[in-house]
Amino acid sequence: MATTEADQRKKKSDAFQYGTYSAKLTADDHKEMLLQLYLARYFDVRLIKEKKRGRLTGTLYSSHNQEAVLVGSLYGLKPKDWISPIHRDMPAFFMKDIKAGWRNLDRMGMSVQQVCAQVWGRVDSPGRARDNWSHIGSRSKHIIHSTSMLAGTIPAAAGVAYADRLSGGDAVVLTYNGEGSTAQGVFHEAINFAAVHSLPVVTVIENNQWAYGTPTYLEYSQEDFARRADGYGIPGLVADGQNVLDVYDKVLEAVDYARSGKGPSIVECKTFRAYGHGDHDDDRAARYRPKEEVEAGRARDPIAVMKRIMVERGLMTQKEAATYAAEGKSASEVSNEDFPPDVVAYLSEGIEFAINSPLPPAEEGGMWVFREEN
């Protein structure tokens, strides 16, 4: 049964039709998007390896198999747009505006060095390692700082959007949330507010079928989390979260809608969490999730889906597609040779920087409770 389901899904991808926005993407865009998929994947597997080697402490929340959601949603944004990533979106911090140059420090995304310094808990992290993992952000780079409180930044997203409009801007604010987090009261309050005021807020729901150890049918009574939009009278779109081009189309449709003043929308991206909730949960997840479900959920690796499309459209040869074979492999199976050298080099620069960055001085624990000077 699992294989038939996987086959059906495969067929769906093969039948992919370009949408309004993806139809305009060039061959170079396709290549760049594929490269970014590799980059997000490499971030994940490399951190798992670093942790296994004992070079890293702290929990990792893997975005393995969900990379198309990040790449596809970020690709169509303008530099001035804001994003609000959460625990499973770590690569988003350095992939925002990455089109402006991976190593360009003036672009509107963080440097990979900064993000690695955060992961390693070092002073060169944007938050000087005061809080862990994804709890960073940057006002100047238009990245809202997350907390642990799920859905807690959507109200702030609405506030940022409101303020931007008040100042005559036309930026869009894109927030990310797991499907489980849509059950938070504040999710409802914030989107309702955004809808009433037609605020340019796009909420991406990363539906990876699980919220920690809880399956979707215990989180929401309908199949599509996008239907949450109906109650607010706003658009609710569903994207194939394994297909970076479909995510790109749906998110950009919502972004354009928002930018033109029509208000917020929700874009649900259907995907699947490859591993445990965090790396601490891998062993238990193997018990609470049926093996067949996990295999079916991982059957459509976003890297493979993109390669297939590119080969079909003649943007890549079969041979080229086989060169860097990261798809379908877990962190323990994959090696640096499975990734383009650029990708490996880029992240390695970040990690080297992080390792050489010092810990913050202890006294900083007592600083910045209040602003002291006026």
């Binding site: 005061r130 059950a183 215990l218 007592g366 409770v369």
Partner: protein, 336 residues
Amino acid sequence: MAVAEQVSSKKNYLTALKEAVFEEMQRNPDMVCIGEDIGFLGGAFGVTEGLKAMYGPERVIDAPISEAAIVGVACGMCLNGKTTLVEMQFIDFISCGFDQIVNMTATYHYRTAGEVNMPMVIRGPAGGYGGGALYHSQMNEAWFANSPGLKIVCPSTPRDAKGLLKSALRDPNPVMVYEMKELYRQNKIAEEVPEGDAALVPIGQASIRREGDDVTLVTYGNNVYHCLAAADNLAEEGFSAEVLDIRTLVPLDEATIIESLKKTNRLVVVNEAPRTCGFAGEVLARMSEEAFEYLDAPPARVTRLDTPVPWVKPLELYVLPSVEKITDAALRVCKF
């Protein structure tokens, strides 16, 4: 039974909690457990592992990520005759259910002139020292101590963990149980834990962890162990410290503290929460009202700085109470 996983008869804090939950579920068919990931997963830390398999999905509810609804639904069940055990995955997330606790649940008995009881227990992993950062390290008990109608306990040993949780589940009032997650799996403190009614530890009774004559260190939770270590340091300096674990914050066992002060005449109070309006301040205030005549020196408190709990180790230790900070404060009080 799923809880008997340790070979030795000594049980750790986590196993003791598990035993309390399983025993009370067995004893009370009207008891319902509700929380995030408590069923299939068995809870983030495994306190309810095996519970759903044993008692079924009606009595062990895997709730959506909705803390306000979780507390509020539990409140409704209490209103309609059930006993409820609410798990907060981390006590930090309780802020998302705050209104349903302080306005809905805590006041119910009061505003109905005693018509309605709220046999609800809210338990969750709390406390710092584990590198959990701002939102996985909190001790926010003072928010609730300042909300009349809620009892608050904070066990520091496996026996107390089991005994207080069991008592909480038999109490007709809402009780908050602050569990020390850094103690969950500490083998050093594993001990024999009684079964059934013999395990009950009454709410509202302090416990003397170490006897002494020169100064009383009043504390609870993680800092019990820091105070015991500080007492060793003080002994080297020639001072004998009494370590008093209050175990229950509300209602506070003032009598035991006063008895101790009659003997030692010196007081240091330690809590992990921030200083301003932390529970240590409450203890000091009460003792200055009730036991002023027994004090030979101004009392002191050791608390977290008035900051959040930062992530990386040097910063975390900078803001939290430590053995050294407690020793120093006690020495100052002893040498006054």
